[in-house]
């Protein structure tokens, strides 16, 4: 049991524990904070796997962006201190049953399958390699999806503004 193993299990406990609390707590603001801790745990797991760039992206986009967006929308749509309504017991039971069945099914499949490492050569996930491949136009380059995704982001930006815009009343025309 070395230090790396201990850190792995602590991160696992952080991810799963705060993830579970995030979907079961009845106070919506606490749910957002538990979601924040779960996302930080996932970022720590990326650090543990030596994928520093993805960990940084995870912290910037999820922890710094999406969680803050969710907290803002909670403030805009929820009365402070009001608890979410009590769930019916049968719905909780059937949801837990369905989730557990899926979990057990996939866990059995993974236990049966042996994953073999296909190669010994390693491309280190450094920022240099990522940048060269992401904007590369040769075989295996990711320039086209990169451009498509930037158009998608622009469309989402414009769409958000149009949707959230306050509708003008008809009296202007």
């Amino acid at each position: 049991m070395n230090g790396s193993t201990i850190i792995f299990y602590m991160l696992a406990a952080l991810i799963l524990g705060s993830g579970f609390l995030s979907v079961t707590t009845r106070q919506i603001f606490r749910a957002a904070i538990f979601l924040l801790f779960s996302l930080i745990g996932v970022a720590g797991m990326y650090f543990w796997m030596d994928y520093e760039f993805i960990a940084a992206v995870q912290i910037v986009v999820y922890v710094g962006g999406i969680t803050v967006l969710i907290i803002f929308s909670i403030f805009l749509t929820q009365q402070a201190g009001e608890k979410l309504p009590e769930q019916s017991m049968s719905r909780m039971l059937f949801a837990a049953l369905a989730a557990f069945c899926g979990f057990a099914l996939i866990l059995l499949q993974i236990a049966k399958h042996t994953f073999t490492n296909s190669t010994t050569t390693i491309t280190a996930p450094t920022v240099e390699n990522i940048g060269n491949e992401m904007l590369g136009v040769n075989k295996g380059g990711m320039a086209l999806p990169f451009e498509v995704v930037s158009v998608l982001l622009l469309a989402a930006l414009v769409g958000c503004i149009v949707i959230a815009l306050r509708q003008k009343t008809q009296q202007t025309n």
Partner: protein, 103 residues
């Protein structure tokens, strides 16, 4: 026991089904959105684990993760715009109470 691919896959599956459980039980749009974020995160963890332990010579899993993160951000932004617009029209974001198109 030294943690390897199977351990990370276990975490990722557990996180996925925690998200599915939340999506089934919650009836508030913002908490349902949080469950979706958990599901997407488990998928990202899966991609990175396979990239590290099965195909370390390529970076494809990493790029999939980056694109999933980008699309998740766009999806969250659009969803929250819709939620705020819904709240403005109905004064609630409970999916049981917003049922104008249902019948």
């Amino acid at each position: 026991m030294n943690p390897g691919l199977t351990h990370i896959l276990f975490i990722s599956i557990a996180l996925f089904f925690i998200g599915v459980f939340g999506f089934f039980t919650r009836r508030n749009l913002i908490t349902m959105l949080m469950s979706i974020e958990l599901i997407l995160n488990s998928v990202n963890l899966n991609f990175i684990a396979f990239n590290k332990y099965v195909w370390p010579d390529k970076l494809t899993g990493l790029f999939f993760t980056i694109f999933v993160i980008v699309i998740a951000a766009a999806e969250a932004a659009v969803a929250i715009a819709i939620i705020i617009n819904l709240y403005r029209n109905y004064q609630t974001i409970d999916v049981e109470k917003v049922e104008e198109l249902k019948y």
